[in-house]
């Protein structure tokens, strides 16, 4: 289906690592101001797709368009050269949240969030820190500003990482399995922050195994398997019965049966 005003589109996107084809001619579109969820079994290519959009991985073939700005086209791993300055500007407009948080261990929560405001936006220290505190407040951690990552729980670290990604006020937020390395009792606080962002209307692309979250928050779902898009559409279409057999298999083997029952 055609989506109005897409935040991200990819066409004919292929990514090969050596001879392994991780993405095979993916056509993908994420609507602006909405939440797009990428689901699929391990090794289906969903994280690689997200990393290509995050400009952390260079595609082998195809084109990506982010907020109207085309990247590529790539052919045999070679694409048009992007100046380092242009690349940095584009990256600053995309917030990325990683599975392993990847906070900088030698900086406090405040330092982590303020860093890009100081180095990339070149704001004076006081202003950068005031904005960082405000971001930490949004994820409910203003009182942990002076803590180092090692002094925070996993859920708190991931919320700091979200605040860090939000600090530059990106138009697009990418989440790569943001709750996969958290204890079950800590996933809720992270998902709640993400629900809040979705309600604010920021464009989000989320790779997640939290099917409950996906079903309740996503406006668009893309189901990947073996590097191909098997299904895509709004949740009611994707989860509609009769369900696509591959999706049924995925839900039965990769997702808690209780959770998939909620979708019936």
């Amino acid at each position: 289906m055609r989506l109005p005003n897409p935040a991200v589109t990819a066409s004919g996107l292929t990514k090969r690592f050596g001879t392994t084809e991780v993405l095979q001619k993916i056509d993908f579109s994420a609507p602006s101001g909405q939440v797009t969820c990428l689901i699929g079994p391990s090794g289906s290519g969903k994280s690689t797709l997200l990393r290509c959009i995050a400009m952390l991985e260079q595609p082998t073939e195809g084109t990506i368009t982010i907020d109207g700005q085309p990247l590529g086209p790539w052919q045999d791993g070679i694409g048009p050269a992007l100046s380092p300055a242009r690349r940095r500007v584009m990256r600053a407009g995309i917030g990325v949240v990683f599975q392993q948080f990847n906070l900088w261990p030698h900086m406090t929560a405040l330092g982590n969030v303020a860093e890009a405001l100081r180095t990339v936006r070149r704001l004076p220290r006081a202003e950068a820190e005031a904005r960082a505190i405000a971001q930490l407040g949004k994820v409910g951690l203003a009182d942990r500003a002076g803590h180092y990552p090692s002094q925070l729980s996993g859920g708190q670290q991931q919320r700091v990482a979200i605040a860090r990604a939000l600090a530059l006020e990106p138009k697009l937020m990418l989440f790569d399995e943001p709750t996969s390395s958290l204890d079950p009792e800590l996933t809720g606080e992270v998902l709640n922050v993400m629900r809040g962002l979705a309600a604010d209307g920021i464009s989000m692309i989320v790779v997640s195994h939290e099917i409950g979250f996906v079903a309740s928050v996503a406006s668009h779902i893309v189901f990947l398997d073996h590097g191909r898009v098997v299904l895509s559409g709004p949740p009611r279409e994707v989860f509609a019965r009769p369900r696509h057999p591959r999706l049924t298999q995925f839900l039965e083997t990769h997702v808690d049966v209780e959770a998939s029952r909620l979708l019936q």
Binding site: A92, P105, E115, A116, L168
Partner: protein, 221 residues
């Protein structure tokens, strides 16, 4: 022959002055070793093949030859290539180069140990390569290599004794003179050893204290 440590007492002020020279040489040499070592390590990381090979060879040569010989070559051989230095600058230069090569190896392994993902996080907020190096990679690495770096700092204290050979008026040179004047070599050298040991002890304790202070920076589980 009797052991009479009181022989050295009249010479203590002279030894104190020697100790100050030793400490000064050590601190200056350490600072230069860290800065130059950092330059070598970063140069090898970002500088491409030719620079990596040139700096790598320099490090191999310095680490593979005795410090005494390097000092002689610089001090006595230097004038032949137009590098005529007084004892003190020659000593400091040799010490700094020696320390820098050891430091650079510690820094290099530290830089390699920084998780790629921490650098990706910095790239993804739009930081430049230089900003990432200055703000993320190097500070994280310095915390990581603190114990190994302290080790080299300690080694450098003892290496300053070699500078007595070209008559830098540091602790060992001063104390050897006391030996020659009084023939109380054993007493003088025992006192000398105690002085070095005290310096080393202070340095390693400072290192451990710093490590504890930085404990909160350590990587989260």
């Amino acid at each position: 022959m009797t052991f009479d440590p009181s022989v050295v007492i009249p010479y203590l002020p002279a030894m104190g002055r020697g100790a100050l020279v030793t400490i000064g040489l050590w601190l200056a040499g350490l600072l230069a070793s860290i800065l130059l070592g950092l330059a070598i390590a970063v140069g090898r990381l970002v500088g491409g093949k030719a620079i990596n090979l040139a700096l790598g060879t320099l490090v191999q040569v310095i680490r593979g030859t005795p410090f005494l010989i390097q000092l002689f070559l610089l001090y006595f051989g230097g004038p032949r290539i137009g590098l005529t230095l007084d004892e003190l600058p020659a000593g400091l230069m040799a010490l700094s180069l020696f320390g820098a090569c050891y430091m650079s190896e510690v820094f290099r392994t530290g830089l390699r140990a920084i998780p790629r993902s921490h650098i990706e996080a910095a790239e993804s907020v739009g930081m430049s390569r230089w900003q990432i190096l200055r703000r993320i990679t190097i500070p994280e690495m310095l915390v990581l290599v603190l114990p190994a770096g302290t080790n080299i700092a300690v080694g450098l204290i003892k290496e300053t004794a070699v500078l007595s050979i070209i008559s830098v008026p540091e602790l060992t040179a001063v104390t050897s003179e006391i030996g020659s004047e009084t023939y109380a070599f054993v007493e003088a050298l025992t006192t000398l050893s105690l002085c070095y040991w005290a310096l080393v002890e202070i340095c390693s304790r400072a290192g451990r204290l710093l490590e504890q202070r930085l404990a909160s920076f350590r990587f989260a589980a």
